[in-house]
Subunit: 241 residues, 2 copies
């Protein structure tokens, strides 16, 4: 008898943005796994806190401390690859025992989520289901009340880690954009938006749908401090009435 | 006393993919409005059918029959603009009477949704809230179990209505792509994917998360028939383990 793997999208942060299907899967899971940094339990775990059964087995998957290694170095790739392999083994030991393991994923599991590393390793051998979630970007533009794309608009989702020239080129080649992974890339993102003539339209959203959220025009943001959970939105639909 | 406007994302189709917040808003609404074509009630209305109060007032907003006018013609723009203006007036009459009006939107309201036309007309004058939803694209890649983007991947969301050369160029300039509005554009989309060297990786998903769904490699699809609710996915994350 072998178990079942479920990737659960927990949405942008507000527990009310969980889907009915996610809530049901949490109630049915024997084990709930979640990725965690620095011993903290993370945002996905906080989002589902009110929906876990008291007797559920929790499996925190703790990222190795890799902050001293640049992500471009081979040593980083080796450290993180080993971590995902060990995490998959930890989940697999429960699957082999016939348990249902739910893996939490902020936003949507297959959209830049760590769950993907478990899915590609385990889905070929175990029953696996992915429950989509509301993405952080949907949470951000909804909270801002900002119509993002309409009609024949092209939307580009861009990591803020791209080089400045590349970011500028891509911002000039689409109607709408979402810039992810803002953090310490904010000064570069600001310059690229200005060079592409889109700084005036850009909106900065921090911790969308969470308690400590903030939304403001990027041009009005007085500092360059941005937490991990922040995004920059450039709305399309320029011919709106 | 004036009312409240709520744009509700109803997700990709499966009623279990409604959020808890959407279900609560449906229970609190005095009026539930939805866009409808050809006298049919549409997918969003079908998704929420089990969550409407028996005494709720329904406000179907019926698209004018414009199939005989090309969308590029000014007459089309005038017809559809008039329709959205009249729809906003119909919603506003309820807001003015102090009612809470929920407007259904397939997927996410501010992501290519008709709700946007009401939002820009009414949100400046009435309390408005947007409840984000799971997009059709998230529903599609989750159902297909297809990891879409990871790390520094760029994702392009492309309308299938783009010209063939433009579609080819953009497909060659990103790690991952979602092609919306497939329908009768499928033969062109297929040619553009082949020219960009990505036909082999493309996955076709029809009516994701609904009862009559289908998922297959686009290269294996034997015909060019695609309903409105279909998408083509090109996954990124090429360095996956």
């Amino acid at each position: 008898m072998s178990g079942r793997l479920i990737g659960i999208g927990t949405g942008p942060g507000d527990p009310e943005l969980l889907t009915l299907k996610a809530v049901r899967a949490l109630a049915e899971a024997d084990v709930v796994a979640h990725f965690a940094k620095d011993g903290r339990s993370g945002n996905a775990r906080a989002t589902v806190a009110g929906f876990l059964r008291p007797e559920v087995v929790e499996l925190p998957l703790r990222y190795p401390v890799t902050t001293e290694i640049a992500t471009s170095e081979p040593a980083y790739g080796a450290a993180i690859g080993g971590f995902y392999a060990r995490s998959a083994e930890a989940v697999e030991s429960h699957l082999r025992a016939g348990r249902t393991v739910a893996v939490l994923s902020e936003g949507d599991p297959l959209f830049y989520g760590s769950y993907m590393h478990l899915h590609v390793r385990l889905a070929p051998r175990y029953a696996a289901e992915v429950i989509p979630g509301v993405t952080a970007m949907s949470g951000s533009w909804s909270q801002a009340g900002l119509p993002l794309v309409q009609g024949d608009d092209v939307l580009s989702v861009l990591p803020g880690t791209l080089g400045e020239a590349e970011l500028t080129r891509r911002l000039g080649d689409c109607e709408a954009a979402v810039i992810m992974k803002v953090g310490r890339n904010l000064p570069k993102i600001r310059r690229a938006l200005a060079a592409a003539g889109k700084l005036d339209r850009a909106v900065y959203v921090e911790r969308a749908t969470m308690a400590a959220t903030a939304t403001l025009r990027l041009a009005d943001k007085p500092d360059e401090l941005a937490p991990y959970f922040s995004l920059v939105l450039v709305p399309g639909w320029e011919c709106r009435p």
